[in-house]
């Protein structure tokens, strides 16, 4: 029998290719009302008064006072209102919905509504904000002594910018109130997050709310918590109007006002002894959370946990805070704090190497973690770490070291450069969230005729769960994956197997499905309908303590090496990527082609993060807020990649698979930046690296 990893045709391939699959905007809901959002024009103000004109029959305004339950969006904290009614904290904050049968009239009413504000002084600069959403700190060894005994201290600061998910399908939800029950359809990642939020908004019993995911056209974290806000809004609206309410975002609205990757300032301070050994690293991270806390505390946790990257340093101190600014709230985006930290630590190590006078890889090799080492939070890398083998493979594929040497000596108009990054990603939810909050449960339903249905709350957003989950169950039960049923989750029918985030779906939920399938196999009764349930079992780990920020933050890790080769035109400061090589350890792939797709897509998003995806917030407004001005790569901007996987099965995941969804984005930026440094002899401390910056750097040489 072929290995499970052998590629198959994706289960949802046909309906996507022939255009028949329906996304939320494609579905016709009878008698639905169109909704548009009235948004704050001020970054920080008290709402004094809202003057609403006379409304035509059938047209409604839905605002804070219409919320039957709690006017707060249930995320981690309850700080974000569903409809801002007392004060506003960012330009674009939703104040109310105008709802009605004709969109033109809805917009007309919207433009006639007058909001009276009493303005306050907003804080835009993340360095200036004193308002802290969350802060953590942890240590290992004796950092005080390390700096006391240091021969040299090297200090620098890094900055990483906003990144917009730019999913091709914009945000959209439809709320329908019928017979005392509120249903919300939408493009989303976490049906139960949305359900909890809507239950809180309506102040009703859980069985009065039903959430259904519609086929999702990309998400990347941008539909992790944001849909809870708009679902709550349409739930309240449909509850008030007793008619279906449709809220689909235009692109400019989506880009201007939905959550983005946290901009970050990361300070690294390293103590070197007289032999140039790294004896201590001190890290201080500030994340810009925007106006509300959303998921920021967990983003910060992950950012701090990978602040030392793949290096085993005896004495470390890592601290960080997420601060509030009167700007669009930041949220989840593939990587979730890791891309920021991995960029900083990889660049810092490369810069240290230069200071010391050795090659970056030489220095990095010296401190690479090994199997059994303690993690920076005093957990343990208990599963095999194959970095050495991976680096060797990356070298062989790309000829990195020779090229790095050669390119650093070049002159001429076109300068070549090559860079390598080494990184990791903790698989699954940070800390003890999986055990204490999510408590995932899966169900397998076997019909009388032997057909099996997967009942989980995880969603396919393009990453292929429709296929990989089916493969796992089919393989155990020796069935054809095409005969397994797995519909877009409906909270009326599926248990809460947790959100589709944190690279947990395959490893955690897939493992539960594997166990459920084994149980079903062992207890199979022909001709009878059977339901098998499996509940999450927390593996044996060093207990995680959030207060001391100590222990195993993740049950296992996936690893990656990226090598990026560039050519920089010194006349125009334009950089062309000429080669990309990657080596990944994700355990084993459940489907090779799907995994290849995750690699290619993630790497290119990482490349955009490093180069062309420039997003600035000026006076509280996002400047690059259209798909014309926010630049994501086109087909002409990418090159073919050489990607290989190193097998390293982990018993925590199904068939040995680990988390992979985010890892592939995390490492491209530093590889690209180091390549630019190699090409031009400049020092990069900030991404995105724009031609404008490069031009300044080379003219100032």
């Amino acid at each position: 029998m072929d290995s499970i990893r052998k590629s198959v045709i994706k289960a949802d391939h046909e309906i996507k290719v022939d255009g028949s699959v329906k996304y939320i905007a494609d579905i016709k809901f009878n008698n639905s009302l169109r909704a548009k959002t009235l948004r704050s024009e001020k970054a920080k103000a008290i709402i004094k008064n809202i003057v609403i004109p006379d409304l035509k029959d059938g047209y409604y305004v839905v605002q804070g006072k219409d919320v039957p339950g709690v006017n707060k969006v249930k995320v981690i904290e309850n700080d974000m209102p569903i409809f801002a009614d007392k004060e506003v904290n960012y330009i674009g904050e939703p104040i109310l919905l105008v709802v009605g049968p004709e969109l033109e009239e809805v917009i007309k009413i919207l433009n006639e509504i007058k909001v009276e504000y009493k303005e306050d002084i907003p804080v835009f600069n993340m360095r200036e904000s004193k308002d802290i959403f969350a802060k953590y700190q942890y240590q290992k060894g004796n950092i005080k002594d390390a700096f006391k005994n240091a021969s040299r201290v090297i200090e620098e600061e890094f900055y990483t910018g906003y990144q917009e998910q730019a999913y091709l399908e914009t945000q959209g939800v439809v709320g329908i109130y019928e017979d005392g029950k509120t249903s919300v359809y939408g493009t989303l990642q976490c049906p139960y997050y949305v359900k909890d939020a809507v239950v809180q908004a309506l102040g009703c019993k859980e069985d009065k709310v039903r959430i259904m995911q519609t086929t999702t056209g990309g998400a990347f974290g941008g539909k992790e918590d944001y849909p809870s806000l708009i679902a709550s809004q349409v739930a309240v609206a449909t509850y008030k109007t007793k008619k279906p309410v449709r809220l689909i975002f235009e692109r400019v609205e989506d880009m201007s006002f939905t959550t983005k990757r946290h901009p970050a300032l990361l300070k690294y301070k390293t103590a070197l002894d007289e032999n140039n050994n790294i004896i201590g690293i001190d890290v201080d991270v500030i994340l810009n959370g925007g106006a509300y806390s959303t998921l920021s505390s967990v983003v910060l946790q992950r950012s701090l946990l990978c602040a030392i990257g793949v290096y085993n340093i005896a004495n470390i101190k890592v601290k960080g805070r997420v601060i509030k600014t009167n700007t669009v709230p930041s949220g989840a985006f593939r990587g979730f704090g890791a891309p920021q930290s991995i960029f900083a630590v990889e660049m810092h190590m490369a810069h240290l190497a230069k200071e010391i006078g050795c090659k970056p890889l030489e220095l990095k090799n010296k401190y690479l973690v090994k199997t059994g080492d303690s993690t920076s939070s005093s957990g343990k890398f208990s599963h095999d770490v194959k970095l050495e083998e991976m680096i060797e493979k990356a070298e062989k594929m790309s000829n990195f070291s020779d090229k790095y040497e050669k390119y650093s000596k070049e002159n001429g108009i076109i300068r070549k450069g090559i860079g390598m990054s080494i990184f990791l990603h903790g698989c699954g939810f940070t800390g003890s969230g999986e055990r204490d909050f999510i408590k995932a449960k899966v169900k397998l339903l076997k019909y009388e005729n032997g057909i099996i249905e997967i009942l989980v709350s995880n969603t396919d957003m393009g990453q292929g769960l429709q296929t990989t989950f089916k493969k796992i169950v089919a393989r155990v039960l020796e069935k054809n994956y095409e005969d397994i049923i797995y519909k877009n989750p409906d909270t009326d029918r599926v248990p809460d197997s947790g959100p589709t985030v944190a690279s947990r779906s395959i490893m955690v939920v897939g493992k539960l499905l594997e166990r459920a399938a084994i149980k079903l196999k062992e207890n199979w009764i022909r001709g009878e309908e059977q339901t098998i349930e499996e509940n999450y079992k927390h593996p044996d780990l060093i207990p995680w303590n959030i207060q001391t920020f100590n222990g195993d933050a993740y049950p296992s890790y996936s690893w990656g090496i990226n090598v990026v080769e560039v050519e920089v035109n010194t006349i125009t400061a334009i950089t062309e990527v000429t080669g990309i090589y990657t080596v990944y350890d994700i355990g084993i792939p459940i489907d090779e082609t799907i995994m290849e797709g995750q690699i290619q897509g993630g790497v290119i998003q990482g490349l955009g993060y490093a180069s062309c995806e420039n997003m600035e917030c000026e006076d509280g407004k996002i400047k690059q807020h259209s798909i014309t001005d926010y630049i994501i790569p086109t087909s002409k901007d990418v090159v073919n990649m050489k990607n290989i996987l190193v097998d390293n099965p982990c018993d925590l995941g199904p068939f040995g698979a680990k988390g992979a969804g985010e890892l592939t984005l995390v490492g491209t930026a530093p590889a690209y930046a180091i390549a630019i440094e190699n090409a031009l002899g400049v020092k990069v401390n900030k991404i995105p690296i724009t031609p404008e910056w490069i031009m300044e750097a080379i003219t100032n040489e």
């Binding site: 391939h13 290719v17 255009g19 914009t170 957003m461 897509g601 798909i627 086109t634 002409k636």
Partner: protein, 158 residues
């Protein structure tokens, strides 16, 4: 001035009294219930709305039904069932060219338009051919492989 507009969509003759300045994309999605072409940006940048008009790849969000009158309009729904579609479908599957699927109808139309003009494209030709179709999931290379594969397999079809 009430005017009837006649359009040929997926080989069917359609007459409508909708305003001639209505976007073709809206006419397809709302009046014809043809939802393959998508609204990704409404600015002609993302290509999710791409259709073929008289053999040319065109962003339907930038075209009024008035200026599309008398022309031959094909969406992915109209391409379905042809031998060319079958080859593209199989190659897109094998090459792993579909993830979330939102850009896919536009990519299929771009592929078909390209192969109809260049039946044996180079890799650069393909990159150029889909350069107006944004994809956020795949990083493009697997789509390009799919189209090159289709050109080989579909020898004689285009």
């Amino acid at each position: 001035m009430s005017k009837t507009i006649t359009l040929k969509i997926n080989n069917k003759i359609i007459t409508t009294e909708e305003n001639s300045t209505k976007r073709l994309l809206d006419f397809l999605r709302e009046d014809m219930d043809i939802t393959g072409p998508k609204e990704g940006c409404g600015e002609g940048e993302c290509g999710a709305c791409a259709v073929i008009i008289d053999k040319d790849l065109i962003n339907s969000c930038l075209v009024t039904i008035g200026s599309a009158e008398g022309k031959d309009i094909t969406t992915v729904e109209g391409l379905k069932g042809t031998n060319q579609f079958d080859v593209l479908e199989k190659c897109f599957a094998e090459a792993g060219a579909v993830q979330c699927g939102f850009c896919t109808p536009g990519m299929i139309m771009a592929a078909h338009a390209l192969l109809s003009k260049i039946s044996k494209p180079t890799e650069d030709d393909v990159r150029e051919g889909i350069s107006g179709n944004l994809c956020r999931c795949t990083g493009y290379n697997m789509i390009i492989n799919a189209i090159l594969m289709a050109a080989k397999r579909g020898d004689g079809l285009w």
